[in-house]
Symmetry: C2
Subunit: 360 residues, 2 copies
Amino acid sequence: MARAWNFNPGPATLPEEVLSRVQADLLDWQGKGLSVMEMSHRSEEFLGIAAKAERDLRQLAGIPENYKILFLQGGALGQNAFVPLNLLGDRTTADYVNTGHWSTKSINEAQKYGDVHIAASAESSGFTHVPAQSEWRLSQNPAYVHICSNETISGVEYAFTPETGDVPLVADMSSNILSRPFDITRFGLIYAGAQKNIGPSGVTLVVVREDLLGKARRDCPSVFDYTLQLKHEWMFNTPPTFPIYIAGLVFERLLALGGLAEVEKRNIAKAQKLYAEIDRTDFYKNKVCVADRSRMNATFYLPTEKLDDMFVAEAREHGLINLKGHKVAGGIRASVYNAMPMAGIDALVVFMRDFEKRNG
Amino acid sequence: MARAWNFNPGPATLPEEVLSRVQADLLDWQGKGLSVMEMSHRSEEFLGIAAKAERDLRQLAGIPENYKILFLQGGALGQNAFVPLNLLGDRTTADYVNTGHWSTKSINEAQKYGDVHIAASAESSGFTHVPAQSEWRLSQNPAYVHICSNETISGVEYAFTPETGDVPLVADMSSNILSRPFDITRFGLIYAGAQKNIGPSGVTLVVVREDLLGKARRDCPSVFDYTLQLKHEWMFNTPPTFPIYIAGLVFERLLALGGLAEVEKRNIAKAQKLYAEIDRTDFYKNKVCVADRSRMNATFYLPTEKLDDMFVAEAREHGLINLKGHKVAGGIRASVYNAMPMAGIDALVVFMRDFEKRNG
């Protein structure tokens, strides 16, 4: 079969031209006689690949030198532990904003390492909005404030960057990183699992402002001690070399497309077309506050659960795969990260119209 | 250039037929319209890949059902923290046998979480032997005894499985796992970074006897809590799907070759040929006690460091790459894991003879 339109929430679809380059070089990277998978992480070849990935990411996201870049393992859920272990220092409390499933996981994990103060929560709306900054109540002396910039399950995304003054802002950006320009200098630390907008699963990006380093607790596992890893240029242990190589190819592609401003333009156009179709009819219903709708994960519900299931099954037959909503939310979820082209949205919209005509 | 003979200590050479299969299916796995990298870890397709990998590994290594299999992240160096965090329970002490660089790292990390008793050490020989079991002195009530079954830097390997009675034996098997049959029932837990005999870097295998579960400390990061991960069938967080897929292809290949008995036969033949060449002449010198020589990493020294360097450089010109010894050991290291065929050993031996003829 031809390549499907893959609406997976992550691991997600990757740019076809990136996959083609990976395929071409799989047994013999640039005539060096070996696969990237077979390179020593300390070889000239891999160090070149890693340095280029880091350089391209800095350029792409405008990351200045006082922010350090790490490619680690363990996923964003791992960082839920490693952020407090690295940043709490001698503070006892960290503040968290709860916007849904992933924020809740971050909160639960952080409670193992310190006191968590909930600065704001969207629970009252069933996690269908982002609490306005005016409603946030920070604690006295928090080590940091943590947000999840996009919640994949309900499809809620921050449309603003919170202002937290001297308190470092920490963001789990797993599901919307590199989907729009962002000002890293407004953050103390960001992290992201790769498997949505960066590359395959198995690599986790951490970008940290250097003045926040040096505070890891003694019981922080060494391979996740940011300061120690940076001392070894994130090669204290063998990094996940192949996922990093693919992430580098993705960064290169995004630069070639014109950078994050152009990427955002495309994502806005994709999201507008998709939400316009949802809003066109009462047959499809999105529950999220319009201003906080995610550009990355559009969720919607048909009139009955039976129709939801039929929609997912018939879409699959039409080469539109993985549209089923998360089990805690139900309904439909179309994840349309950077690598989903407008043609995929068009195909989905055509199918939505046709399905409604037959079942509406 | 053609494929090189790659003597990397890890990430290491992979079987060419495995890489060819990965290449063929890279954009469209078995006609499903997407890459394995793009599959949801909870999709029927990936769950099938994962289940087959686990099943094949059980068959290959004879792992009974009361031993649980986990594919995690963080490498073996990560496990240096997660083993004590999961296994210490209410004990205060763990015993470690020190056979070199990697054992020392395990010991240093474990000291962050409990008391470490050194049951035996090869330090007196400069880590060129494995202490005989008769020299081991266990502590009163250790939670476990930890060994590193193959030390890649000096090239020292256990030729025996230690007998530790009721005390669970824990082994870092990163560099010799699946290179020979082993009796898992003699161990409480084994772990291995994938990047030598299993697959690409970024996935870590843990096999644990089920009665050792349920003891994780509260401060163990959730993604590395064996019990919690097993409750979620090692999908509490998104696993490194692509490296796991390749590991599965490697297991399948080893079964097709005839299993670990056949693999061992080949590894013995390869090691014998290589050490015979080293021993043939005083020009090459291996420092390891003969009985404890590693089948996986053969280390040797030429008469001068200058000749070592020339050897490495000229070998590279002949398509024999990554023969430089580790920086702490110097000299030459030929890592000849499962995926290195006899033809690679033959090519190295021919080069060694020729180099000696010209420089001896």
